[in-house]
């Protein structure tokens, strides 16, 4: 020790006297390679998703009990609760508290209730999961009786928050039923006093002033589709007159004026045509003042399969699209324009926190029925939006019952719900149960049923697995690299 440097008074014991006794115990953890090419670095993560990135050598020494308490790696793994020792006996208590927090949203049960108010639509989108029905067929509207029973069903949930989302077709073509449902829900909620939220998914092409005024009065959020610049958006969403983009922008502007700028959200859908255009898509969102964009994968369902759009594009291409998109979005943030990428935001929340994300497609157990549920225009109840779209193609695997003919218990205890929930559970599945990224991931029985005819799916052949694993690795890499990008991403946490 340099005698010229100031020292602590001799009456105090130095830090060396407070060290650990040297032996350590392992806590339950998984490990996976940190990148897809090499086997030099591994992500190790515990039950709650606390992770560290270490070398293969250190991983072996960790497991063999050969780590030295004075090493930085030892301290890192102790801080991250991969191991614990005589100084950190409180660790199991902390892990329990965190695990309970992560599991809390299961206790809250179903929180998202989708109402398909009509199948009628004025667009003809090639990837559409819903069968193309022209504007004039009234047989495809939900009735008031169904809507009423569905609202009763909704309020049986123990969840303190309820989100009612109107889907279609083009929802606003059956606006009176939307009003009916909002009134019934508010009335029912007087008994329960839950945090009640409404969202309308719409292309905004028939959003009259009267409709928007109603949305403003009732605090209804609007979610619309914006796929990118005009040429891209229009080719994804053909419409008689080929002016879908112009109508969308005009609708967004009017909706913002009436209900509030930040109450209008946009979602994009990725098609074959979108790949390679991610910068243009992001620019479109920035141009129209959005501060959130969701780089979604194309689902292998519905008309996508029929038109072989899905065949044309695979997980790897989407990953490149996503990474290029996120890098560009980070550049835009560095330039001073706050823009969140929503999928990254959800995953980062799962990686860096123990908060619930309410994103039904990436939950474990699967979000089908127990996180979100959907009432179709004909009163049938499905475990998920994908499930009801599959029914339109003739596959009723995920049909749970009918809201008029069946009781709440019959529907929620239906084999069509319980079987896929149990079968797809990642904690019990080969490969998933040993994956370091398990706490961040989820089950998607819809996807695997559509692509492999199996609720669990063999993950080695699963595009869902490939995509998500790449995203986890990429985001962990960004956080570990630190710097401005990591700071920007931390601001995206929910």
């Amino acid at each position: 020790m340099n005698a010229l440097l100031p020292q602590l008074n001799r009456a105090f014991k130095p830090v060396e006297e407070f060290g650990t006794e040297g032996r350590y115990s392992l806590l339950p953890f998984n490990f996976s390679p940190a990148d897809s090419q090499t086997r030099d670095w591994y992500v190790v993560a515990n039950l709650c998703g606390d992770y560290a990135v270490i070398t293969r050598t250190d991983l072996e020494r960790l497991v063999d009990g050969r780590l030295d308490p004075n090493e930085d790696t030892y301290r890192l793994l102790r801080r991250k609760q991969i191991l614990y020792d005589n100084l950190t006996r409180c660790t199991p208590t902390l892990l329990s508290a965190k695990y309970r927090t992560r599991a809390q949203q299961l206790a809250n049960f179903t929180g998202l209730f989708m109402f398909v108010v009509t199948l009628r639509c004025n667009h003809v989108c090639p990837y559409c999961q819903v069968s193309r029905v022209s504007e004039d067929r009234d047989a495809f509207d939900m009735t008031e009786e169904m809507a009423s029973r569905a609202v009763e069903f909704t309020f049986k949930t123990p969840s303190p928050s309820v989100k009612i989302e109107f889907q279609g077709g083009e929802t606003m073509l059956n606006f009176p039923l939307i009003q009916f449902i909002v009134e019934r829900a508010k009335e029912e909620n007087r008994k329960w006093n839950k945090n009640l939220q409404f969202v309308i998914a719409t292309n905004l092409s028939v959003a009259t002033g009267e409709i928007l005024d109603y949305c403003a009065e009732e605090d209804i959020l609007i979610s619309t589709s914006l796929d990118g610049p005009a040429d891209l958006h229009n080719s994804n969403r053909p419409k008689r007159g080929n002016n879908s983009y112009e109508l969308t922008i005009e609708g967004i502007t009017r909706a913002r004026e009436k209900i509030g700028f930040h109450r209008v959200g946009a979602l994009m859908t990725t098609t074959e045509r979108s790949l390679g255009r991610v910068r243009d898509i992001v620019d479109t969102y920035v141009e129209h003042g959005f501060h959130s964009i969701f780089l979604r994968p194309l689902s292998p369902f519905g008309d996508a399969v029929k038109t072989r759009a899905f065949d044309k594009y695979d997980a790897q291409k989407w990953i490149e699209f996503y990474k290029e998109g996120v890098e560009y979005i980070l550049e835009i943030n560095r330039g001073g324009y706050p823009l969140t990428e929503a999928y990254s935001s959800i995953i980062l929340t799962k990686i860096l926190t123990n908060q619930a994300t309410r994103f039904v497609n990436l939950q474990s157990p699967a979000g089908i029925g127990i996180a979100g549920i959907i009432f179709n225009y004909d009163g049938d109840v499905y475990a998920s939006d994908e499930g009801r779209m599959a029914a339109e193609r003739g596959d009723k695997t995920f049909r749970l019952g009918n809201v008029i003919a069946n009781s709440y218990e019959e529907i929620m205890l239906s084999d069509n719900l319980l079987n896929p929930l149990v079968a797809s559970l990642p904690e019990a599945a080969p490969m998933c149960s040993e994956c370091a990224f398990l706490p961040y991931c989820g089950a998607d029985p819809d996807y695997h049923h559509a692509t492999q005819r199996d609720f669990l799916g063999h993950k080695a052949f699963s595009g869902f697995c490939t995509k998500n694993t790449e995203v986890f690795r990429y985001l962990i890499g960004k956080i570990e690299a630190g710097g401005e990008d990591a700071e920007i991403m931390r601001a995206w946490l929910r």
């Binding site: 407070f18 801080r79 100084l87 006996r89 926190t353 700071e487």
Partner: protein, 561 residues
Amino acid sequence: MLTLSARKLEGNLDGLGRRVFRVTERANIPRATRNKHALLHRDELQCPDGFGLHIHLAGKPDGPRNIFLPPAFEYLSDGDIVVVDEGDKAIRTLYRRSCRSNSLLVTERCNHHCIMCSQPPRDVDDSYIVRDLLEAIPLMAQDTPSIGITGGEPTLLGDDFVKLLRSLKNNLPATAVHVLSNGRNFRNLPLCHAISKIGHGDLIFGIPIYSAEPDRHNYVVQAENAWSETIEGIINLKRFGIGVEIRLVMHKDTIAGMEDLAEFIRRNLTMVDHVAFMGLERMGFAATNWKYLFVNPRDYAATLGRAVRILDHAKIRTSIYNTPLCMLPDDLHSFAEQSISDWKNDFPEECAECSLKPRCAGCFSSTVEALKGLVRPKRTQPRQPMRKKTLDRTASAFVSEQAEIIFSSGLECIADVACGDGRNLTPFLGGKPKVHCYDINVAAISDFKSTHPEIELLCHEVDLLDSDFELPQAAFSLVILVHFYEQNLFRKVIGSIKPGGILLLETIDSHGANYLQLPRKGEVQAMLRPGFEILETRTGDIQETDRQTVKVCARKALAAA
């Protein structure tokens, strides 16, 4: 700093024993209540009867129940509470009505021995303190905004601690209570349960965690098992929904681990109500270990910022305590609180002019000396030149004189720092040097450009007092610094002169309170001694201050200093 206690005082306390009184200045309060009160006499010597005690700040009348206090106790006023002891002839102020947050020390015993403890523990039987406080609490004002409980370690009092909290709840139901504790005794669930049963509506425990590394925390508090037990205590308090604030004192042994600690809290203790990063107070063990522990806050501002943002992004309420605003970057100002108790809050004299002073925490009385040279008062408007506005832009007399002597040395690149309208450059333009001008306002120099189009003039619009402002090293053959002086800036100016180059410094003339902008006596000379040959120097001492005006022309040595 206020004097809160004194012993061996004069007066007649026969038969008093040890008693708690509420102070009053009103001689005619109802008789029935006088026994609980001590009447405060500022000059009136007459002692109406019925009062439990008479406190005299002037005069020493005869008679029982009189105590005479020195002027240090002039702060006492209506509603304050004191305890007076016959045996010691002592008085202690327990509570001040005018204080926003009174702190009640409940014991000096502690099971920790922190290396920076401002209240070093004493292993004594001080159970009389709790008795005093239980007497005092019912006398406190109903609208007291908050009460702090400190020690030592309050939970060592066991049941007495619960009694104190219950008394605070019963007597002061609208008063927020903030307890400082190391939290280890909350491993004991029955204790947590007993506190929870009190049902206090606004209770929070301030519990320190000094590192995410258990051995480093245990070293700072000098106790085995501290870290793990503290965390278990926090979890238990939270099981009962009791408020918890995590505190970190920033010093040499805690600063390096701040970001890791923030990350640890963010991940594992998300449910805490507040996190406070605290500047170091120079009392007790902190004073003993000051040279070892103290770090200039500006040196750790960057890591502090990252730690604060880790928590803020996670929506955990975070504050910075005991740190002057000038030591924090602007984006951290919203986290800074005026946290220092009024009776020990002080500001270095330089801060008198600072525009941020009303919002600034300032220093502890004990740290004013240490922080004096480090503060950077912020002036409200860009500095106006102290000289009179001149239409004919001639250089100052001193500069013109020196120009005669040094002009012969070839000048290729010169700098005028705080150039104003550039008048001091005029004697040096013959050789067509490249000129760099630095000022907070470059509008004035633009005229110069148009009247001297042949000169290559580069203007830099900068805040010369900004710590991030840098001058290029060894770049100029002449640097002019006229009518603007600040020590750190001067240091940068010296560094920017080439070997063999010239410094021309002229401070403002002194008048009124502007002496604070002048260098201290000998300061400039000391900074020039290594490496400069003084060609001409003129100084003028300012009476009754340690400052002087300085005019100096100096040449930097050719060999590297």
